[in-house]
Symmetry: C2
Amino acid sequence: MAIAEKPNIQGLERRRRTGPTIQDVARAAGVSTATVSRCLNEPDLVIEATRERVFKAVDDLGYAPNFSAKTLAANKSGTIGAIIPTMENAIFARGLQAFQEELGEFGYTLLVASSAYRQDLEAQQIRNLVARGVDALMLIGYDRDPDIYAFLAKRGLPFVNAWTYNRDMDASSVGFDNRAAMRGLAEKVLGFGHSRIGVISAHRTHNDRARERLEGIQQALSAAGLGPSRLSVLDVNYSIESGAMAFRTLMEHADSPTAVMCGNDVLAVGAVDMARQMGLTVPDDVSITGFDDIELAQISTPRLTTVHVPHREMGKRAAEILIGMLGGQHSGPSTLLKTRIMLRETLGPARASA
Amino acid sequence: MAIAEKPNIQGLERRRRTGPTIQDVARAAGVSTATVSRCLNEPDLVIEATRERVFKAVDDLGYAPNFSAKTLAANKSGTIGAIIPTMENAIFARGLQAFQEELGEFGYTLLVASSAYRQDLEAQQIRNLVARGVDALMLIGYDRDPDIYAFLAKRGLPFVNAWTYNRDMDASSVGFDNRAAMRGLAEKVLGFGHSRIGVISAHRTHNDRARERLEGIQQALSAAGLGPSRLSVLDVNYSIESGAMAFRTLMEHADSPTAVMCGNDVLAVGAVDMARQMGLTVPDDVSITGFDDIELAQISTPRLTTVHVPHREMGKRAAEILIGMLGGQHSGPSTLLKTRIMLRETLGPARASA
DNA sequence: TCCCGGCATGTAAGCGCTTACATTTGGATT
DNA sequence: AATCCAAATGTAAGCGCTTACATGCCGGGA
């Protein structure tokens, strides 16, 4: 959420009163506006006595600097933007939290917008945040219109692609190898004797993570000598409900899978729920896996077998990279984080073939 | 998330390049900046031919207006702020989504910040958003420092208190009666024969909603002729984990409750999970209830008995109220929304007394 | 005593926009 | 043809801040 649509202000009612300005403070303290500004931003440059007078005036008047004016004049905002695909699910919450905490350490502020998994909206939000003067940007994944990258480059705006790892781009990324991680999980699944696999994936257009995760599964299958016919893939929206519906579709098919691998935990939880509604026991009748290891995975009944992603570390690293770039470093190298397979209760041996 | 800490920009590196300005566009199109501005904001005032030239220049240059400059000059931002206690849980997600959608209809943009359930941080975020030029504010609950209300009043800044209903304040609120809703649920619980009730509540200092919900339970008990000794209350942080811990504490007590009422669904899900870990069957051994009816409640095993809150409608109404106030109306009356008790699986008859 | 340098502060020029007001233009009206 | 009015556009004054540069001040070294 945060920040939406075009910033078309036309026709909106005008605010009347504004608070005291730096002028008012300067007058009250008997100094120039420059001194007030210095007190606020570089107190060391001002002698103690003056500083006290100024701060007193600030307090008395309840002065708070106008952010727009400040950003406009200084050509920097102390704000860093992040655009995530959704706020509806907790996937990004933990990582973002860590990101924010780290930024805070360096005096930066975070602004979050969501793109609803739509590339056009993401582009719009990027422009929106840039227009708002963010000093840098954290984006999710790397799959976006070249125009956007060109735009960012032209403005010299530092950014980092998170939740992904890509050594081939010149943009720095911080994340994990979605393909390898999912392949690892798929190998475990195959190790349990499953050979008909259903996949519930998030939509893959404009979503490198979803795409790579599926590729990981495909690789594992083909390495095990299983043909693509063993795989049924369903692309769905990102919600518990969608996971449930897709699971039903998969299971009602004549040649139903013995294991259903989901692109993320939210879908998997929906699948687990539907299994129960259908009277299927997990994992005896069917195995289900997720991806992300969010809180949901652990309170699901039975507990979800999934891939653990180091969200907090990813957020922290993203912040470090950006701050480094703001400090003048060229786009640092990409950072690869490790994932871990969490074998819990929803994955078990394949049921005997029908 | 979004927006954090003090906006202390001092010492941060300066951005270099900026995009084309309105001047550049004016020059390219052979018109004045005023005309460009009009094209962008009030196209009807500009004759077709000119408009086309201007838009062509805009496209060619990739011009995007500088938001800070715009806000500064126009003294309005087309942005509305919301400060919610947390983004970690989905409690506010749905309502906020509806809020945003409605705002979008009117050309407004949403900015979200989180207060981490801390009154001081909330105050800071309010000032922060105001400094950023938001035209109005949505806040959660009504319980905050009078200074904040004074500040808002002095700036003439429209705001609405959501997720709560309070006819006594002169601020407008949109929400439901937390006390009555929880009292209704408590009556159901008592109706099932429970007489030793545990309560897992969010911290109640600076949280009117948590406080009122507990009061609702107390009222129901006393109306049923049960003394306060029948109630054990635990205040905890807002997380699944905390709910689980609190539940254990409650149940390990000698005189353990037969029903545990939780201040929200997240805590309740934690409690349900812990019950299972402790080998207790819900609701046979112990009943558990939640509040909010978020998605989690329905996929919990067993499904959570809880209070349904009309989140989407609340968000929508909040937007309408704010837009009305921006249109000049004085703070409208408060809006009371209805809640509904969702009797699902976690509430059952009290177990026979030990 | 004079001069220099560094510190504390002031001056004022913008930052990129909006908008009140002034000016121009081209009919329509007489 | 002269007049008037509305529509289209231009002019320029800010909005509230930062910051390069100028100024004034004071103490110490020559």
